[in-house]
Structure formats: structure tokens, C-alpha cells
């Protein structure tokens, strides 16, 4: 029996292996990961790990001993070069060919690169892997000024950590407002004001034209101004790692196309996590998500189907972001709402914005408001009275009855 081969060693890969064992699969499970670390969680990389609050061990999805104890073979620093669908094999840089009965492609995503003059200078970083963050942390110890290209969640989380560590932070955003791709004007304004209050210099509608420096970066060039900078973090989005699957002839379009069972167009081949483009039956459209909860659920779905089940993917996307002492929890997509209702006080940094479409809740952005987030999780797609939602004295629990 060739068993299950998993390409990629991130959160989705680790969860697939764990779910297979949990569901009593006893055949071989083999993971191939390009990085040298056991599967780790990426969300803390731009938060607590960057801030030096937690150890590498704490970022691991499961302790390193877990894999041996559950008879899961983990091949690290191993790049998969080809999938041969006709032979049911993969070839790797370990100069071996491995056979599979079922293949799970969990290749994740990579940082979108900014190819402009000076991009190869030392001190210009992306933030995607543990190694990236180790290098960033090291430079932050001596840097005084840092420029962050891109005002998305990664950029803002790094800005918060760098500010707390005492660096002078500048965010350069190409769009007219930060977080424009992912949230509403109201939330953009709130986070802009929050960072400005902490001393972050945010420049919107600002296109970076190049980096300059002798060997390592010392300034960032924009049309209007040159910013002095000892280091740069580029956070301008991520791209799905779907090339390997595409080369093998698996259908891809903005990620690897899968059905509700996480199956690709190739027999016995599944794709899960950031690299998958999947149908969401609740939102009634296809999505490609950069999200841990999605990776975890797709892993469970794939594992179940590999073992002959028929579990279908059906969950509401949700995300979180920690900046300073604020916890932001988001459910659904605010762009799906036609109206918005604020509950709580924006000035007190404790509020939630509910987004409604046809009087039904379709999204929430909850800042230090876990109750509101939990309410939306349960009332998603259901009618909610706007007056009750906006009245902080109204007990939300009553809405669940």
C-alpha cells in the first residue's frame, strides 16, 4: 500500500495527517515540506513570535515527536518537482520517486514580490516563513526606522510590533486607504487612526518606486518623497502555489480548482488550504482563502473523503488580527453587506460592525468584542433586528432564542 502522500508541510498538511490517524487510518502517511521546520503556525509570525513573546516550539502545529509517535513520515527540506498523474507518483529533490494511493496538495501560498529597482538589497524583507521572521527580528534589534510597503493585515501587525519595540514606522500604501482590499472605509479609518495615534506615519495613495542603499537598504523612493529606512517589509499580498499541480495537468484557475469534497480534477488528488480554489455552499460562490480555519476544515474534509467518507466543505470564512492590545475577529465578507450597523463605542476601541444584506447578517468586524463575533457566527444568514444589534444594553443572548 502506497498510502497518502501530502505535498507541503504547513497547517493544512499537519491537520490532514492528524485527521487521518484520528479516523483510524493505519496506512503510510508521508509529508514533504520545502522548509526545514516541522509544520508550524503562520499567524503568530507577524504577531507574538515577531515580538519575541513565544518560542519556535510554541509555533509548531504539533510537537516534533508527534509525527514519529503516530507513524507519520515527515521529509523536510524536500522539494517536490513533479506529479505524475498517470503513474500515481511524485518526484522530489531527494532523488526518489514516491508512489501514492491518494495525494494531497497543500502547497500553500507565497508572498507577492515587488520587483522594482533595489529590491535585491539586504534589509528588504517579505514575511512568510519562520526564517523570514528570524531575519527580521534580528535586524529590528539595531534598526531605528522601518518602512512597510502595503497597509494590509501583515503590514499593520508588523507596524504594531515594531512600534512597541521602539522603531519609527512608516507605512506606504498604494491605494487610497489601508486595508482597502479587505474591509470597509469605517474599519480602515479606525485602524488608520489607531496606528497614527501610536506614532505610525501612514501614507496612502503612495507608490514605491525603488529602494536605495549601499549593499543594504537605507532609503525608500516614492514619487513625492524619499523615506529614510534601515529596513523594509513588503506585505502586498500572497499568491497560491499552484504551479506544480498545473504542470501536472490538474485544473487551476486562481489556485487549484477543487469540488466540495476538496477533490481536484485528477483522480485521488486533493488540494487544500491557501492553494485551493473551492466552492463555498453558504456564500454560494468560489473562494480562495488565506486562512487557517479554512486550511484546518479542508484538511478534515480531505481526510474524511480519502477514507471513503463524503464530508462536504461548508463553513463561513473567518479571520483574526491582533494589533497592539486589540483583537479583531472577522466573519464573512463585509463587501457582501448593503448596510452596516455599529454596536459599541468606536472611541473606546471596543465595538463591532455588523453587515446586513436583505436584513440578514452576512459579516461582522468585531474589535475587542468576542461576543458579537460569536453571535454573528451563529446568526449568519439569519434575520436580525438592527435596533437590537445597535443597542449595547440589549442582551445578545436573547437573539439566539
Amino acid at each position: 500500500m502506497a498510502g497518502v502522500v501530502i505535498i507541503g508541510a504547513g497547517q493544512a498538511a499537519a491537520q490532514t495527517a492528524a485527521s487521518l490517524r484520528q479516523e483510524k487510518f493505519e496506512g503510510p502517511i508521508t509529508i514533504f515540506g520545502e522548509e526545514s521546520e516541522f509544520p508550524y503556525q503562520r499567524p503568530p509570525l507577524s504577531k507574538d513570535y515577531l515580538a519575541g513573546k513565544i518560542s519556535v516550539e510554541k509555533t509548531l502545529v504539533r510537537p516534533a515527536e508527534f509525527y514519529d509517535s503516530k507513524n507519520i513520515a515527515v521529509n523536510l527540506s524536500a522539494k517536490v518537482e513533479e506529479i505524475d498523474l498517470a503513474q500515481n507518483t511524485i518526484s522530489t529533490t531527494l532523488s526518489e520517486t514516491f508512489k501514492y494511493d491518494n495525494l494531497v496538495v497543500a502547497t500553500g501560498s507565497r508572498a507577492r514580490e515587488l520587483i522594482i529597482p533595489g529590491h535585491e538589497l539586504n534589509g528588504v524583507h517579505y514575511l512568510r516563513s519562520l526564517k523570514d521572521v528570524d531575519a527580521i527580528r534580528n535586524e529590528m534589534k539595531t534598526a531605528k526606522e522601518i518602512c512597510i510597503v502595503g497597509g494590509g493585515y501583515i503590514g499593520l501587525e508588523v507596524a504594531a510590533v515594531a512600534t512597541i519595540l521602539g522603531l519609527k514606522v512608516t507605512i506606504l500604501e498604494m491605494e487610497s486607504r489601508i486595508l482597502k482590499r479587505v474591509t470597509t472605509e469605517k474599519m480602515s479609518e479606525f485602524y488608520h487612526a489607531l496606528h497614527a495615534k501610536k506614532g505610525v506615519d501612514i501614507r496612502c495613495s503612495t507608490q514605491v518606486q525603488g529602494f536605495e542603499g549601499e549593499g543594504s537598504v537605507s532609503s525608500v523612493i516614492t514619487k513625492e518623497k524619499t523615506f529614510k529606512s534601515d529596513m523594509v517589509i513588503v506585505g502586498i499580498g500572497i499568491l497560491p502555489n499552484s504551479e506544480l499541480a498545473q504542470k501536472a495537468g490538474i485544473d487551476c484557475e486562481n489556485g487549484i480548482l477543487v469540488n466540495e469534497n476538496c477533490q481536484t480534477s485528477a483522480r485521488n488528488v486533493y488540494a487544500i488550504g491557501d492553494c485551493s480554489n473551492h466552492p463555498n455552499p453558504i456564500l454560494n460562490r468560489r473562494l480562495r482563502l488565506e486562512s487557517v480555519p479554512n486550511a484546518m476544515e479542508q484538511a478534515r474534509v480531505a481526510a474524511n473523503n480519502i477514507l471513503g467518507g463524503d464530508k462536504k466543505y461548508s463553513t463561513i470564512p473567518w479571520f483574526w488580527s491582533d494589533q497592539y492590545d486589540l483583537k479583531l475577529q472577522m466573519l464573512g465578507f463585509s463587501a457582501d453587506g448593503e448596510t452596516s450597523i455599529v454596536r459599541g463605542e468606536v472611541s473606546e476601541e471596543k465595538f463591532a460592525v455588523f453587515y446586513l444584506s436583505n436584513e440578514k447578517i452576512v459579516a461582522v468586524d468585531a474589535v475587542n468584542s468576542p461576543k458579537e463575533f460569536m453571535l454573528a457566527k451563529q446568526l449568519y444568514g439569519k434575520r436580525a433586528d438592527p435596533e437590537q444589534l445597535s443597542d449595547v444594553n440589549y442582551d445578545l443572548k436573547k437573539m439566539l432564542n
Binding site: P44, K70, M296
Partner: protein, 106 residues
């Protein structure tokens, strides 16, 4: 280090050993105890590691934080025994603790 007994909703028992620098959630996940999803990895952001701990054992634990309390408050399966297992560190004092799992995680 403590020996922890997890009991699934269907009655299946799992006796596992939890390390001191881990949480009850991590002890469950590392030992493949079904019924704890822990989607956020222990950030107290998702409430999918809901467990039930009886009063005797609960008395040995720190009170839930405001965030944990809020995350639990709107959980449909909430009882007075409800806690989030990612928020409870394993200590020697918990040797022999019994933890029940709810039917669903929301």
C-alpha cells in the same frame, strides 16, 4: 506533567499525559482526542476548544479571563462547567483531572 482524562460526548475515554508548558487543548490535540477543533491554534479567538469541567476541578483553576468569558457566553452548549481548553495551562495540580467534551464545537 499531569494525567488527563478526556471523555468524548459519546462516552469514549482518552487517558493522556499533558506537559507542563502546554494547555489542555494542546494535550488533547497532540493525543488526537476527537471533539476539540482548536481552529485558531490557541489564541482564544474561535471557541472551538470548548470543554466541560466539573466544579471540584474548576475550583483549582484560575478564573476565566474576560475574553474567554465573552467567547463562552453565546455558546449554545454553554453550562456552568464550560471553559475553553486553550486558556487552561497544564500543571501538576491537575493530575487526574476529568474533562468532558460537548457534542459540537461552534
Amino acid at each position: 506533567m499531569a494525567t488527563i482524562r478526556f471523555i468524548e460526548f459519546n462516552g469514549t475515554e482518552h487517558l493522556v499525559s499533558g506537559a507542563n508548558d502546554s494547555s489542555l487543548m494542546e494535550a488533547a490535540v497532540t493525543n488526537l482526542v476527537p471533539g476539540i477543533d482548536a481552529d485558531c491554534g490557541g489564541e482564544c479567538s474561535c471557541a472551538t476548544c470548548h470543554v466541560l469541567i466539573d466544579q471540584v476541578w474548576r475550583a483549582k483553576l484560575d478564573q476565566p479571563s474576560e475574553i474567554e468569558e465573552s467567547m463562552l457566553d453565546l455558546n449554545p452548549d454553554r453550562t456552568e462547567d464550560s471553559r475553553l481548553s486553550c486558556c487552561i495551562p497544564v500543571t501538576e495540580d491537575l493530575e487526574g483531572i476529568t474533562i468532558k467534551l460537548p457534542e459540537f464545537q461552534y
